[in-house]
Symmetry: C2
Subunit: 352 residues, 2 copies
DNA sequence: ACGCTGTGGGAACGCGCTTTCCAGCAGCTA
DNA sequence: TAGCTGCTGGAAAGCGCGTTCCCACAGCGT
């Protein structure tokens, strides 16, 4: 027996529906809906008051899925990152979510753990949820086949009316916040060169990430332009974590104990490297070897020696991406370039 | 003109619906639904194949809101934290989200920025979204009026069929992961006492947070039991961030330059304090003053001196909370106590 | 050979809400 | 006073999907 129409004071249990508040306010569902959701239509103040009181008394909250179905749009945005448990993404996510909250939007956060399959799958699921839009943060992958499938999913998402914003270096036809990774890599190289370093090692990131490629290319190109080369086996690939940097540094030291400087492709890796240098290798930073990182995560300033790094305004990047998403333009995809800034601290010094 | 029934190859745009795939597969919606959702009813393999192919070809994804409406349940869980941009919550969230992902659930993450109003509001919104459950992490507030309203909202949420799990020290009738903050505070005190410290300062957290109260009470009680008191003005309240710790340390030093040890109620505060000590106050840690933190966030081991702290297994806490949520019990609320572990590193030493 | 059981497919209803569309009414002008 | 216009409230038709209920049909037993 449906509960509708009965103006009874609602004894049956289950979620309170709009019908219930309409009944107890003595109005139609349509009217109740209008007052509760800021429709364009105006409702007489007396009725409106009754409805609001009924809603409050019954602790009514609208059924968001039903609302989404009827309106065929939601108030949810998606956000896809590699892992929140990484200060880089935590900062980007925080920026984006703050803007979303300002617009009264709820955020669905998904971690891909750097699995491109998962990334594609999450786009599909966000599409299923009819998310208003999604911001995809984190490095792209270099595998063209994966990229094609991702692009396809994103297009499907967009075709369903979803908005898309990217925080990554990748040419897809969507609004993009583009960190200047290549230029940043070059800046790191220029600093090391200026300090007189020539025998340089690199702690790279996971293979197949475009961020890694760009930072690396920028760094090596700048070195090359100065006539300095980094031998291939002086590039050790780490997994972009602190512990990964630790292990990779050990490996690098084993292969090339003569390096006077090390470029780590992100800060956690650099921090791990410094720890390895101090705890196991027994070299001091920066006297024996200079270390430079990338990103400037919050803890970079508190390690000892304080980490010289290439700063990216992470929170701002997340914020800008979300703004792009929420203020769509009809003039095609926009790109916001984010400049990298060299932050010189104590982990680098000139070669003696 | 609704697109239904037409077995035409679908030219009109808009999202692909179940009807579309049914049409192009030449079956009824019911049949299509059955194969796509693993219903109890079995469909002939040939038809099933046709349906699956059609779905794939049309890039169909189900309309989650519609599905939620029809089934009156969703595959979404909510997670409320103070701020993802805080390694404490990032770790908890990561643990929880990993478990959620294993169960094929999407996570809605909300930041309260320590605003109790926001917290209450998010519970309501999660209820509106008919989230399967929600885990509420982060310290409770001590204001009884706020707490009552929160409890009420949570009850409403539960009444709608939502499951609730808490990661906080607070007695609400829901499954709870309870970090032993009081005991942890005592452990910190015991260490400092054993090292011979008697003139101790405290960098506390924001007022009105139950976590703060418990850590503080545990610490002071243990001190008191040993006949040691901390004067009230040697307790400076910081905001639980690195910069907050920095400023608070300056204040503490101005008031009581004679302290031989400082207890910071969380790690970022301790890290900020160490920075202030080194950069502005000019005292060295641990020779001039010992510093101990709380939580053991990832960067605690990489600051110099490495931070002595009271460790909480953050990721595990998030994980356990989500498991409680996903494996409900009918025997009333459960509580999982999480032991705090003292991790002695280099930021503490015995008083000379 | 007939009736019965079991299996697959189709039609219709309902989930809770938004949104036309329509009726009624008050205020106004001619 | 008659005829309009301008509003407000209500009725009803979907939004896309899940899920009965029911029918058609094939296989089986006696």
């Amino acid at each position: 027996m449906p509960a509708s129409k009965s103006r009874a004071p609602r004894v049956e249990s289950g979620p309170v529906t709009l019908q219930h508040v309409a009944d107890t306010a003595g109005v139609s569902r349509a009217t109740a809906s209008r007052v509760l959701n800021g429709s364009s239509r105006i409702v007489g103040s007396e009725l409106a008051e009754r409805v609001m009181r009924a809603a409050r008394d019954l602790r009514y909250v609208s059924n968001a899925p039903a609302q989404a179905l009827a309106r065929s749009r939601t108030t949810v945005v998606g956000m896809i990152v590699h892992s929140v448990d990484d200060p880089y993404f935590a900062a980007i996510a925080a920026g984006a979510m703050r803007v979303a909250a300002e617009h009264d939007l709820l955020t669905m956060l998904a971690n891909t753990f750097r699995d491109p399959e998962r990334e594609i799958d999450y786009v599909a699921r966000l599409r299923a949820h009819r998310a208003l839009g999604l911001v995809l943060a984190g490095s792209g992958f270099t595998d063209p086949e994966q990229n094609a499938r991702l692009a396809e999913q994103l297009s499907d998402f967009a075709a369903t009316g979803g908005r898309v914003a990217l925080v990554r270096h990748q040419s897809l036809p969507f609004d993009t916040v583009l960190p200047e990774n290549r230029r940043g890599g070059a800046q790191a190289a220029e600093l090391l060169l200026a300090l007189g370093h020539r025998r340089i090692g690199i702690l790279s990131g996971p293979n197949g990430l475009s961020t890694v490629e760009h930072r690396l290319a920028g760094f090596r190109d700048a070195l090359h332009a100065a006539g300095v080369e980094v031998p291939d086996d002086a590039i050790v690939s780490a997994d972009f974590t602190r512990d990964g940097g630790y292990v990779a540094m050990l490996e690098l030291e084993a292969r090339h104990p003569d390096r006077t400087a090390v470029f780590a492709l992100n800060d956690p890796t650099a921090i791990g490297a410094i720890a390895a240098l101090r705890e196991e290798i027994g070299k001091s930073v920066p006297q024996d070897v200079s270390v430079i990182g990338f990103d400037d995560v919050p803890s970079a300033q508190d390690v000892t020696p304080a980490l010289t790094t290439v700063r990216l305004p992470l929170e701002e990047m997340g914020e800008r991406a979300m703004r792009l998403l929420l203020e769509p333009s009809d003039r095609g995809p926009r790109t916001i370039r984010i400049k990298a800034d060299l932050v010189v601290r104590q982990s680098t010094t000139s070669v003696t």
